[in-house]
């Protein structure tokens, strides 16, 4: 049960728009699950609902069988990289991770470990406002890893990463899955997902249209991009 992420009839309505429409699925440990969709398909909203940041209009999201909001020291259960959850610009990377560690009773030594893991140990004492986009993204990944959680959620983690960073991230994601963690990665970069994911969830207009192993999804079309665009355009008709 630990590490399994379960969505049951999850929905989110903003006024008259259904951003997430009755999504049910189980995200399992030991593999990289790619979470695909066009901009505005509901990926980020779904991830925010899993984390208890947005309230579902219907349904539930369960982490290891529990609601996120009920978890004690949740960073030890779920690590997340979110869009637009930046560190305060005047604070150093080290201090940003330090308060996160304090909040969940994570040993201070972990802060240095994760800074080293994302290759920010030299920049750790500098204010975050001087960071490049890629460095900010790596700090976000360090924050996700801080509690050594069995579940990792990454919302568009490749944003701002350079080719070396993308390669590093891809190997890291596969490594986390190989360690038996549950890894959910949202992206709209098909070529990158084709190299990284083992399993796919595809959201189109808030609805889950595919919950399939990658090879099966691709098989009929030869490449992931074609298969994805076919599914998206088919749904629009």
């Amino acid at each position: 049960m630990r590490g399994v992420l379960e969505l049951r009839n999850l929905s989110k309505r903003y006024g008259r728009t259904l951003a997430v429409d009755d999504v049910s699925c189980t995200v399992r440990p030991g593999r990289v699950t790619g979470f695909l969709g066009l901009n505005g398909a509901g990926k980020s909203t779904t991830i925010r609902m899993i984390l208890g940041l947005d309230r579902p209009s219907g349904g539930v999201a369960l982490v290891g069988g529990a609601h996120y909001r009920e978890l004690e020291n949740p960073l030890r259960h779920v690590g997340a990289l979110l869009e637009g959850s930046a560190a305060h610009g005047g604070r150093s990377a080290y201090h940003h991770l330090l308060w996160l560690a304090r909040s969940n009773r994570i040993p201070t030594a972990r802060v240095r470990d994760v800074l080293r893991q994302v290759d920010l140990d030299d920049a750790g004492r500098r204010p975050v406002r001087g960071f490049s986009l890629g460095m900010t993204q790596r700090l976000g990944i360090a924050a996700a890893l801080l509690g050594d959680p069995p579940v990792l959620l990454f919302d568009e983690p490749t944003n701002g990463l350079d080719p070396a960073g993308i390669r590093w991230l891809r190997d890291a994601l596969k490594g986390f899955a190989a360690e038996g963690r549950t890894v959910l990665v949202s992206s709209h970069l098909m070529s990158e997902m084709a190299l990284t994911a083992d399993h796919l969830l595809v959201l189109v207009g808030g609805r889950l249209l595919a919950d399939t192993p990658l090879p099966e999804f691709v098989a009929a079309h030869g490449c992931l991009e074609d298969a994805f665009l076919e599914l998206v355009s088919g749904a629009g008709r």
Binding site: R48, R55, N73, L75, S85, H88, R91, W99, L100, R102
Partner: protein, 249 residues
């Protein structure tokens, strides 16, 4: 406790904390000297040495209000609030930790601010000055201290409610500056304005004028004023908590 420790790290590691708190001290000490010097040789009918001490507090409270607003407002501005609520998902626990950490700084800072205002003003008043143990002074000193802490908590609650340091300060500052011009003493509107949060500490701080004079007498006593301010603070924090629970982050 872990949530409180996290909030203390946050406050310790931003520059706005030392800047706002030092500014409160400088303003209260500086205004105390200015006001004390002004009253030293001026003949006024109802001279009150405590007025000179505490009038500066109405301006020195502004950086303390800014401190409380920024403690949460900065999180909304930078997006850190999402990381905070992911780390401490129970909204009540998060807000309680934020309040506790703010109090760790605000309670001593308010005490120092009040002491600086009083001592500098009385020293500048020379022979007309009073000591901290003289009639009315202990009550006024404690009252001013409590006033500053409560106004800070009110500002914190308001900032949670509006989710923006710019909006919170944009509303609170003009209102505190107008208040220092004696909004609660303006004859026509005073029936209402005397109950505004920044006015309720004025009786105990000897800023509302001679309370035996019907022109200035307020409809509440010194301690009742502070109790009403405490209600404002509780209401603002309660509204902030309700909003934090209900809305998406």
């Amino acid at each position: 406790m872990s949530a409180v420790r996290a909030e203390l790290v946050k406050l310790r590691t931003v520059r706005s904390t030392p800047i706002t708190l030092a500014l409160a001290f400088c303003l209260s000490a500086g205004l105390g000297v200015l006001l004390g010097s002004a009253f030293r040789s001026t003949e006024t009918a109802n001279f009150d040495p405590l007025f000179a001490a505490f009038y500066g507090v109405t301006l020195a409270q502004i950086p303390l209000v800014a401190f409380a607003v920024l403690a949460i407002g900065n999180e909304y501005r930078s997006g850190t609030i999402r990381a905070s609520l992911a780390a401490v998902p129970r909204r009540g626990r998060f807000l309680a930790a934020k309040i506790a950490a703010v109090l760790v700084y605000l309670v001593p800072a308010a005490a120092v601010t009040v002491a600086a205002a009083f001592l500098s003003a009385q020293a500048a008043l020379g022979a007309r000055g009073v000591g901290p143990g003289d009639a009315g002074a202990p009550e006024a000193l404690v009252g001013a201290w409590i006033h500053l802490v409560l106004i800070g908590l009110f500002a914190l609650g308001f900032a949670v409610l509006v989710r923006s340091p710019v909006v919170a300060l944009g509303v609170l500052l003009p209102f505190l500056l107008l208040g220092s011009q004696g909004l609660g003493n303006v004859p026509v509107v005073r029936r209402v304005t005397q109950y505004l949060p920044d006015q309720l500490g004025w009786v105990i701080m000897h800023l509302a004028g001679d309370q035996d004079d019907p022109r200035w007498a307020r409809d509440y006593g010194p301690w009742t004023g502070l109790a009403l301010l405490a209600l404002w603070a509780v209401a603002a924090l309660g509204a902030g908590y309700a909003a934090l629970r209900r809305r998406d982050s």
